[in-house]
């Protein structure tokens, strides 16, 4: 029973119906639509304390008054928020019974990325044996972390187990009324991750949602809260290089990072959600609010590799509140076919001697549109603030677009701000040079693209960087015309 291209296409075409006419009501799925009762029901299902329910309801109240933003340089059919089921149990029935049923194209990609068979099964949604290596790995990790006093768990667990921390920090960086999608997320978030690093602790390993396999499938409204207490360090990985054919069309996640005095958080994301097919049908809408707050001498570094999603709307930001704090943003955004990405960052300098660096690389191919939108703001009290921004765009083919919208606002005379942007294409002479040395055009392009993105790829944790590099190649496959 091979899963053919035709069938996949058909499935994609009929996909939208799944939400509107989802009849198979399991006990753990709430009816479609959004109102106060649904929110109370979500909160109840998760056995949350009253303050959390009240918090969600407050967010819902704000959301109702808000309008969906349309300033971004992306065009899509607005989702119908009343046609979505806001809660479904994470343990769904496996989609397939064995790997043979999975789309061979997907398997080919897995192979290229070098993903183990067990993981392949997991990612493609194939039923897996109950005893799996990674589960025990995860448990071992948990033990090591617990010894250091690091809390790393799902946010619903944290709400129950560590209410004082959650209550103190949730919504402090991204308030409920921050924007339309953040408000929606605050009202209905299904699950997410919570991480707390105690004072002076250096987290011994890269924390990743990837390891929390038994808690995967956190749904479309993910909420992440990372708190690094004074003098601590953590490197956090989100997402996964493997293409995940998520069935949710709308993703509105919120990530809040809090770096207290002298702390450092490094947050890396690789996003490779279903971008829609070659005709631009289907695909995930990814509307994410990510923001970090830096106290004195703290540092937050965002690194992202964005290759998936039909529409991306994402601005990981840093609020440099404390003196001498540092914000960094390294990004590669690749768009192919009909993908649209409007992404960038905000660096808000409030404290003295604050520094920020922005390196953004956009690669557009096919008929895609890729925009960088950024804000560098230096407030009047931010003495000696320093910013360096660089946004480079690479265009492949003459049907795509690259756009830059940098906003720079300086209110202090001692601010030093530099912004540079270039747009170019891969030179014919560069490709000719490679061809001449026996490298075929496709490989040559991959080589040049990797060189172009190197500054950002270097910032990723090791294994991730290797995978991300391969991912870039795969995303741009077939874009050479």
């Amino acid at each position: 029973m091979a899963y053919t291209e035709e069938e996949l296409k058909k499935e994609l075409e009929t996909k939208e119906y799944e939400y509107g006419f989802y009849t198979d009501i399991e006990s753990d799925t709430l009816p479609v639509g959004l109102n106060e009762e649904i929110i109370i029901a979500i909160s109840k299902k998760k056995e949350e304390p009253d303050w959390m329910t009240a918090w969600r309801l407050e967010a819902f109240k704000h959301w109702k008054e808000m309008e969906e933003p349309d300033w971004a340089n992306v065009h899509y059919k607005k989702p119908d928020f009343q046609a979505i089921s806001y809660y479904s149990a994470p343990n769904k029935k496996p989609k397939y019974n064995s790997l043979d049923e999975v789309d061979p194209e997907l398997l080919e990609t897995f192979k290229k990325l070098g993903i183990s068979v067990d993981e392949q099964k997991k990612l493609a949604g194939v039923a897996v044996d109950i005893v799996m290596d990674s589960v025990s790995v995860a448990t071992t990790f948990k033990k090591t972390l617990a010894e250091k006093g690091i809390i790393f768990c799902s946010i619903s667990e944290a709400i129950k187990e560590h209410p004082e921390l959650v209550k103190k920090y949730i919504g402090t960086v991204v308030p409920q009324r921050d924007n339309f999608y953040a408000a929606l997320n605050s009202a209905v978030f299904s699950d997410g991750s919570f991480c707390y690093i105690p004072k002076g602790v250096r987290c011994p390993m890269e924390l990743s949602t990837y390891f929390r396999i038994n808690q995967a499938g956190t749904g479309q409204f993910e909420r992440t809260l990372v708190i690094a207490d004074e003098g601590s360090y953590v490197s956090y990985l989100e997402g996964c290089t493997a293409p995940s054919r998520d069935e949710n069309q709308l993703h509105a996640a919120v990530v809040e990072l809090i770096a207290l005095d002298d702390a450092e958080i490094k947050y890396s994301t690789v996003q490779n959600w279903f971008p829609g097919d070659k005709e631009g049908k289907g695909g995930v809408f990814n509307f994410v609010t990510k923001r970090g707050l830096c106290e004195k001498n703290a540092k937050i570094s965002w690194t992202q590799v964005e290759t998936g999603s039909a529409v991306t709307w994402k601005y990981p930001s840093c609020v440099l509140k404390g003196d001498n704090s540092i914000g960094e943003f390294y990004s590669i955004a690749v768009t192919n076919n009909f993908q649209q990405a409007d992404t960038g960052t905000k660096m808000v300098h409030l404290g003295k001697n604050t520094r920020s660096t922005i390196i953004s690389k956009g690669i557009s191919a096919g008929k895609s549109q890729n925009s960088y939108r950024g804000l560098v703001q230096v407030n009047s009290r931010a003495e000696n603030a320093r910013n360096f921004s660089q946004c480079d765009s690479l265009l492949m083919g003459n049907e795509c677009g690259a756009h830059t919208f940098p906003y720079i606002e300086a209110k202090n005379k001692s601010a030093q701000i530099e912004h540079e942007a270039t747009t170019s294409k891969i030179g014919e002479d560069q490709i000719f040079y490679c061809n001449q040395r026996g490298i075929d055009t496709e490989k040559a392009i991959a080589l040049i693209v990797n060189g172009f993105s190197k500054e950002v790829l270097n910032k990723l944790p090791m294994e991730f960087a290797v995978e991300a590099q391969k991912l870039l190649e795969i995303s741009l496959e077939g874009s050479v015309g």
Binding site: S393, L395, A410, H419, E420, K425
Partner: protein, 438 residues
């Protein structure tokens, strides 16, 4: 009554003074409809995010000056570029002053918009060009179109070049407590012609003035147009300048904007490149103090392949001044081999000064070279120290460095007298005598 209502009701009074049978009047009524619908832009609009017109709308401007006012040449000589002979089109409180002006019909037409809009001999030209490149959508431009009656009209036929540069000067005498002016200029340079224009708005008192000006420039194949805007107005004069430029193949248009004074200045500079091998240059020096506000909005639309555009804006902001730069480059899908450069450098000299800048690129073609750079910084302390150690007082040393900072923009000024004048203005603005003729 707020300004919008006042303008709407004034339009009826305006209609009784113009020929409403003339086809131009249909353009006016159409434009008025658009303004009625849109009103003044608010800060909610992306293009007006950093510039508020709220306070200006509270002022009770007179739309039509009540009486004519004469000026003696002696009184205003210093505002003219008197070192060199020029054609002059002078307006006093919006009314043409034939006494101060020097127009010509000798081979080229350097005269008045009012005659172009009414006399039958100009009709063929007006039909082809009037309101053809100006926006029919942007509220302030349409407001100007609705009230368009007077301004400069320049027509340079094929292969011609006027003997001397043209100066367009608008004086506000302060006869009215507050005055709103809406000059409308139409400039046409036919194939292979050449033209130099210097434009200036000057208020002679501290009374409130608001100028909402629209200039349309058409440069045909291989035409060269050099346009200099000198904005050094009094503390209560505000200027909204909308310039629309339509360029054809191989033409070369450059606009230099020198903003040294005024309460609020908004420059909307729009280039449309409708041909190949076009060159467009936009340069500006802004030196501001007090509570002055300058907003430079530029747009270059690369529609055809093989064109170039250069932008270079330098700003020095002191005291409570605010500067805005928003440069937009659009490269269409077919505009391959475009070279577009944009540079915006700023120095903040005071703690209360603000600069907001947004250099923006929208690119749909792949074989292009586009870059933009933007910096905000201070004077180099080491350079300052070096100069001081050689006996140059701090104030002069600072001025020298600032002058050097602005100098690239001046290099491309092609009229030496304009360059000398700008140098003097910069020295004056920086409060020093630089001791050499810059």
């Amino acid at each position: 009554m707020d300004l919008k209502d006042k303008l709407i009701s004034s339009f009826m009074a305006f209609e009784s003074n113009v020929d409403i049978e003339h086809p131009v009047h249909d353009v006016r009524t159409e434009a008025m409809k658009n303004f009625e619908m849109k009103g003044f832009p608010s800060k909610k609009e992306e293009a007006w995010k950093y510039t508020s017109l709220k306070n200006l709308q509270k002022v009770d401007f007179s739309i039509f000056p009540k009486e004519e006012n004469a000026l003696e040449y002696k009184q205003v000589k210093k505002y003219f570029l008197h070192e060199v002979d020029t054609y002059k089109i002078v307006f006093i409180d919006g009314i043409y002053s034939s006494y101060l002006s020097e127009t010509t019909h000798d081979g080229v037409d350097i005269c008045l918009m009012s005659s172009a809009l009414t006399k039958p001999m100009y009709k063929p030209v007006v039909d082809v060009y009037f309101n053809k490149v100006a926006s029919k959508d942007e509220s302030l431009t349409t407001l100007n179109t609705a009230f368009s009656r007077e301004g400069a009209y320049i027509y340079i036929p094929k292969n011609k070049m006027p003997k001397k540069p043209v100066e367009i000067i608008h004086f506000a005498t302060g006869n009215e407590a507050s005055l709103m002016l809406q000059p409308r200029n139409l400039i046409i340079a036919e194939e292979n012609s050449e033209l130099q224009v210097i434009e200036r708005h000057q208020s002679l008192t501290s009374n409130e003035v608001l100028t909402n000006s629209v200039t349309e420039i058409f440069a045909a194949d291989s035409a060269i147009v050099d346009y200099y805007k000198i904005q050094n107005d009094s503390e209560n004069a505000s200027l909204i300048d909308n310039t629309y430029i339509d360029q054809k193949g191989k033409s070369n248009v450059s606009v230099h904007t020198f903003s040294f004074g005024g309460k609020l200045i908004r420059n909307n500079l729009n280039f449309y490149q409708n041909g190949e091998h076009i060159e467009s240059t936009m340069k500006g020096v802004t030196i501001l103090g007090n509570k002055q506000h300058v907003d430079h909005h530029t747009l270059v639309h690369h529609i055809e392949p093989n064109c170039e555009s250069h932008q270079d804006y330098k700003g020095i902001y002191g005291e409570n001044a605010t500067g805005v730069f928003n440069g937009k480059i659009i490269v269409d899908k077919i505009a391959q081999k475009t070279n577009a450069f944009q540079q915006n450098n700023n120095i903040l000299v005071s703690d209360k000064a603000t600069i907001n800048t947004k250099p923006q690129l929208e690119i749909f073609a792949d074989d292009v070279k586009c870059s933009h750079g933007c910096t905000i910084g201070q004077l180099d302390e080491d350079a300052l120290f070096y100069l001081q150690s050689r006996g140059i007082p701090q104030k002069e040393a600072r001025a020298l460095l600032m002058y050097a900072f602005a100098n690239n923009v001046l290099e491309s000024v092609r009229i030496p007298e304009v360059k000398a004048r700008i140098n003097k203005l910069i020295a004056k603005k920086l409060g020093v005598s630089l001791g050499f003729d810059l």
